[in-house]
Symmetry: C2
Subunit: 447 residues, 2 copies
């Protein structure tokens, strides 16, 4: 770590030399003081997450020291959340999608509220409505894209909904333009700078929250397992890093979050990898968790039944060299496992190495604007955003991982797109494909 | 306009009442003064675009009053730019794509430089490198997506490039993650707030500049006409609004840009519609401008030859009622025109009604941060960003318009995707499509 710090120091110095030539402005002492006063003034007005604990718990735990009390409260609500998570999975994909939507709205609210406080917007014309309007339009756009991707064929059958599919992007863009024009018209001289800053703030929030929750929904459609495993990994990593840090934590990891330690980071990482393998093994057995959610042409409805893909069928592997001796103890020389478990390894490594940086980013953000938590919805944990900071980054990773390594444009997906064409176009495509296949001698031209 | 202003005033009041309940913080006089001092301090350090005029021009025009001098200088450079634009079109799609890339980089630089100055980042560790790194990765991602879309088949043939196509998203995301981790590691306590603000600033700049220039490239691939017509319309609207405003301007249009007038807005709008129709008529005749840029399986290379689509073939229309009398003067009762001209009407209306709001937005932005121009590259016009503010919004509109109304998933495009599949998957798709077509009695099952 000291090495890292050292290198950072170097960078600092270099950059100073580089930029000095480009501007002759140097922060004067007076300005520094002025700015710090400004930042402090702002911080006063920010919403500070409070650790409000339900009263019953409060009195029951009054005998404990504050350190252990925090442990117990945090523990109880961790288990409550895990329980709720299991219930949701039992509820099926629709319940999950609605939850993702709710979480997304709540996260957006938490981020936007900080923006409001930072730029002190009391009385700023229209701004609250505008932010929510942008949230609405971007959700309309992205959820629509998802629905069309997966339910396109169904929606196309209903005549009066057809134009919603055909002109989806146009409608969304028009809605956005309305918001854009509304923003420009709402500009008021005294507030220009704050209005533009909040406009940017809103868009960054949309980028973080809405686009990534759109990716989460896409992952759910690939099969519940692509949602449950990564989410559980982040939870596991969070919990285990906290536990390891609590019991063995000594060496500070990063200045940003003074409570995080190397022991927690490594302990959490190893636990996550093991946990990921076990979870992947257990879950690969259930078609309910493994099958993508698809529209079945023959059944005429959405279905989660399928012949599990080869990813979820047991397979024999030659174990890597370093495992040979371990294997011998168990008297085996072949490793029998689901191919998905190898992918779970990639996911768990990401979630324990890069994932925490999502958390550091969030801590840094909180420090930058001098707030303790994003909110105070979950006792002992802070706001929703405090729990989901790493989930968003992870969701993007899973989505990219699926598109790159798993879903290499399946014939099924393309077929759905073909069925969206007009009839004569379907025929046209059919004959063109037939000709091409024949020319390449793949299809035998039966006389 | 007074009505608009009035309603805005109302909104202001309402919002005040709404938000008052949520926070008891009210701006004190002291804070206001503090903040204004802060904003003014900041403005001092911002780069102010200067109207530097080449010396030769300066001496040649010394006899003119400043108002006319500005006219002449602006005029000369307008014509120079229009000439350059024509030269570029002559240079073909590759030259255009490279220009779009250059313009994009320059715009990004202008926006980012303002950010640097606003947050006074001299000595902020790594920031300049980080912004450029993010520009690089997002360009790698988006240009790559484009190239794969259009050249995928070609690249796939070259074995050592194949992984770049297959894992494109994964590589891009990994690159982004490196930047993200780098940012978190570069956080330094004293600068937290500015670093996060600049991080957001960079991302908004990427959103505006990079994603929209990606859309421009997509438009170029649809056929040069989809690029030339909209760009010319914005230029025409800018120029004509300026001309009409200069000669007839009386009624101020919007407080944001005091120089803009209703006369300019309306005159520019009408000119743009007429200009658009004429331009569309002229350009529809050249296959070079009209044909999409596609990879031809038979030629084995990219081609711009095609049988022009029905959009660009003359067609008879029954003129609308109000045109009947006008038509009679010319002794005709049918309107003969290209269907594309109707689309050009939609484009020109957007470019003259919504387009200017892109300009208002840019003026507001400049006012918010108290700068005159984004840069000083083009004498009489300011920075590149000053000329391209409306082009970005327009490009998005054109792209959305094409996807919604023009390019309804052509069989050709889908076929290209099919050819990207593995051979056995192509066959699988073929048989599935055949079965489905037979089941629906579209394809006759020849015994």
């Amino acid at each position: 770590m000291s090495e890292l710090r050292h290198r950072r120091g170097d960078g600092d110095g270099n950059e100073k030399v580089e930029t000095a030539g480009e501007s002759d402005h140097v922060d004067s002492e007076e300005e520094k003081v002025l700015e710090e006063k400004y930042v402090d003034e702002m911080a006063k007005s920010l919403p500070q997450g409070t650790d409000k604990t339900p009263e019953i718990l409060d009195s029951a735990l009054s005998g404990l020291s504050s350190r252990w009390r925090n442990w117990v409260i945090r523990g109880i609500f961790t288990w409550l959340m895990i329980g709720g998570f299991c219930l949701l999975i039992y509820g099926g994909p629709l319940a999950l999608m609605i939850t993702v939507l709710c979480v997304q709205v709540k996260c957006f609210e938490e981020i936007i509220n900080i923006g409001y406080a930072v730029y002190r917007v009391h009385g700023l014309p229209w701004f609250r409505s505008l932010s929510w309007y942008f949230l609405l339009t971007s959700n309309y756009f992205l959820y629509g894209e998802n629905l069309i991707d997966y339910f396109g064929v169904v929606i196309n059958r209903t005549d009066y909904l057809r134009f919603l599919v055909t002109y989806h992007r146009f409608i969304s863009f028009s809605l956005y333009c309305v918001g854009f024009v509304w923003f420009v018209l709402s500009l008021v001289k005294r507030y220009y700078m704050r209005q533009f800053s909040l406009f940017a703030w809103t868009h960054v929030a949309l980028l973080i929250v809405v686009t990534q929750s759109y990716l989460i929904i896409q992952n759910i459609f690939e099969g519940l397992i692509w949602f449950i495993v990564p989410v559980s990994m982040i939870i596991c990593n969070d919990v285990m890093a906290y536990v390891f840090g609590f019991f063995f934590g000594k060496t500070p990891l990063i200045k940003l979050s003074p409570k995080k330690t190397w022991e927690g980071f490594i302990g959490g990482g190893v636990s996550t990898v093991v946990f990921g393998l076990v979870l992947a093994y257990m879950m690969s057995q259930y078609p309910y968790l493994v099958c993508p959610i698809e529209y079945s042409e023959s059944l005429g409805r959405m279905t989660m039944d399928c012949e599990p893909s080869s990813l979820f069928r047991l397979q024999e592997y030659n174990p890597p060299q370093f495992l040979h001796s371990v294997m011998k103890v168990f008297g085996r020389d072949k490793l029998i496992m689901y191919p998905f478990m190898i992918h779970s390894l990639a996911l768990s490594i990401f979630s324990s190495v890069i994932g925490p940086f999502g958390g550091f980013f969030a801590s840094g953000f909180k420090r930058a604007f001098k707030i303790k938590d994003f909110g105070d919805v979950i006792p002992g944990h802070g706001g929703i955003m405090d729990r989901f900071d790493c989930q968003f980054l992870m969701a993007t990773f899973v989505n990219v991982y699926i598109t790159s390594f798993i879903r290499t444009a399946t014939p099924q997906k393309l077929l759905q797109q073909v069925y969206n064409l007009k009839l004569e176009q379907q025929l046209q495509l059919f004959y063109a494909l037939k000709e091409s296949l024949e020319n390449r001698n793949i299809l035998n031209t039966v006389p």
